[in-house]
Each structure stands twice: as C-alpha cells, then as structure tokens.
Symmetry: C2
C-alpha cells in the first residue's frame, strides 16, 4: 500500500479536523497548527491540500451552508397543509440542527464578523428562498385556516424558536444546571412543544 493511496483520506481528515476547529473558534480564533494536530498531520500538508487558511475556511464554510440550507429549503417547500407542515418543519429542523449543533453559532459569528464574504458565498451558491412558504401562510390566512398574522413574523417565530437553544446552549445549561443529557432531553421535549405553542397561537 503506497503512500499515494492515502491522499483522499488525508483530504477528508483535514476537512473534518478543520470543521471541528473552525466551528468552535471561528476563522480568527482557529490556528493552522491546531487543525494539523487534530488531523495528525504536518502543518505544511494543510497548504498542500488547500492553498492557504482562507481557502481551507471557505471549504469548511461551503460545507456548513451547502449541507444545511438545502435541507431547510426542502422542508419549507414540502407539499402539505400549513398546520401539518409547521409540526413537520419543527421536528425535522431541530433534528438536523441536533446533528450539526455547532453550525448555527458558526454561521451567526461569521455572518456578523464579515458580512461581505458571507453574502458573497451565500448569495452565489446557496440562496434560501422562503417565498413559497410565505405564500402558503398568506393563503392560509385568506382561506380562514389560521388567524390573520404577518407571514414574515410567523416564519421568523418558527425559526427563532428552533435555532435559539443551539446558540444559547452554554447559557441555558449554566443557568438551569443541565448536563449534556439533560440538554438532549430538553431538546426532545422542545421538539414536541414548539408546534403546539405555535399552532395554539394561530389556529382559529
């Protein structure tokens, strides 16, 4: 088995390590040495596979957004009645986030740190389009299925309620004295309670 056969694995290992470090510390806080250590390779290899730190970061960022946002779009555009969709979305969305618990804070951080770079990538490749879902809410209001609400506000309510726990996780665990398992249970409970909370509010 020649060393050359390792390259794809190395490439993958670097990306995996880079994700871990960048997600936790951000572009500015991450150290190339730390990423190399985490991947059990030499620092020079990072530059061999990815030109420089920024290129490595872009790869990580592309994976973070390119992985999650299409899934969210798909949930939003699923064809089903609104009330059913709210439950469906909440449940699936929190599940997705639970599998990628560090990504929300990562996105928020990088978006606020450097909006230009963020939206350059975001608007080119990814593009989140809630237009269909917004229309569905409008239609439900018009047809008397739900109370008259501002569709944008309702949409943001859904998103806020799902994402916030992942952003504030350390604070929540600290203030309410939770350990990892407590927090996991808390999320599972929340998965069920959010749709009840929303639907109770808007149903007629």
């Amino acid at each position: 088995m020649k060393k050359k056969t390792i390259d794809i694995n190395t490439h993958e290992r670097i990306l995996t390590s880079a994700k871990k470090i960048f997600y936790l510390k951000g572009l500015d806080g991450a150290r190339m040495q730390e990423i190399a250590d985490e991947a059990n390779i030499n620092k020079a290899m990072l530059h061999y596979y990815f030109r420089n730190k920024e290129a490595l970061f872009d790869a990580v960022f592309a994976e973070a957004t390119g992985n999650i946002l299409p899934q969210v779009s798909e949930l939003l555009n699923a064809e089903m009645p609104l009330l059913e969709k709210i439950s469906y979305f909440t449940d699936k969305y929190i599940t997705i986030l639970s599998e990628n618990p560090l990504i929300p804070a990562f996105i928020i951080k990088e978006m606020n740190n450097n909006p230009e770079r963020f939206f350059k990538i975001f608007n080119e490749k990814i593009r989140l389009k809630p237009a269909v879902f917004i229309k569905q809410i409008k239609s439900a209001v018009r047809n008397g299925i739900i109370k008259p609400v501002d569709p944008l506000q309702l949409f943001l309510n859904m998103i806020s309620l799902c994402i916030f726990p992942f952003l504030a996780r350390p604070m929540i665990m600290n203030v309410f004295g939770m350990n990892d398992d407590d927090f996991r249970k808390f999320l599972n409970k929340r998965k069920k309670e959010i749709p009840v909370f929303i639907i109770n509010s808007i149903k007629i």
Copy 2:
C-alpha cells in the same frame, strides 16, 4: 488647557472605540491598531490606560454584560400579573436590545468561543436569575390563568423571539431585501406582535 486634563476623555474614547471594534469582530478578530485608529490615538496609549488587550477586552465585556443583564433581571422580577408582564417584558426588552443591537451577537460569540472565561465573569458578577419569573409561570398554571405549559420552555420562547432578530439581522435584511429603516420598522412591528403571539397561545 494642559494635556493632562484630557486623560479621562481619552479613557472614555478608548472604551467607546474598543466597544465598537470588539462588538463587531470579537476578541480574536479585533486589532489594537484598529481600536487606536478609531479613537484617534496612538497604539501605545492603549497599553498605558489598559495593561494589555485582554484587560481592555475585559472592560468592554464587563460593560456589555453589566449594562444589559441587570436591566433584564429587573424586567423579569417586576411585580405584575403574568400576561401583562409578558407584554411589558417583550416591549422593554426589544427596546433595550435596539439600543445595544450588537451585544447579543457579541455575547453569543464570546460565550461559545471561550465558555470558561465567559462564565468565570458571568457567574461571579452578573448572574441572571429567572427563578422568580419561572415560579410566576408555575403559579399562573396552577391558578388556571394560562394553559398548562412547561415554564422553562415558555421562558425560552419569550427570549428566543426577542433576541433572534438581532442575531440574524444581516440575514433577515438580505433575504427579505430590507434596508436599515425597513428593519427598524420590522422591529417595531415585532414588539407588538410577539406578546400577541405568545398570549394567544397560552391564554385559556
């Protein structure tokens, strides 16, 4: 007018500039040079007034948390019936955040970057205590004023709905094509809609 008379102003000017830079870029992303430029002074002065970068950051951090969190505690512990308090809290909280729109992202960023440092300061000095409010919710459930809900979940719903727009502001403005004025109007509308949304959900 001697130069010596300027020192308090300089101290203040440094803090103001440091806040601006640290809020936007975080501890890691901020440059001492940038803070000095912003304050129109020399880099060496930063070290004269504040020992080093960390000390300057600590001062900024202390102001950020020490300014906002006590106000929030006060809102939470205000003496009034629950439903009224929900409206009161939402309105005042969003007003406070509007005056300090960068602080939420700053807190989330630093808390996730370095939880140890964060909670060392947080637990010593500030301490957020929602216990009284949680009890009030429990009591309202017991007395049949609101539907049976998990107090912790309801509390986090309130917080999530208020804070999230400030965290996701660039994204919201981008996706929905808002300018600064649009966003300001959006927040004012939200201030009124959040309590309606919550109370509709839990009232009997």
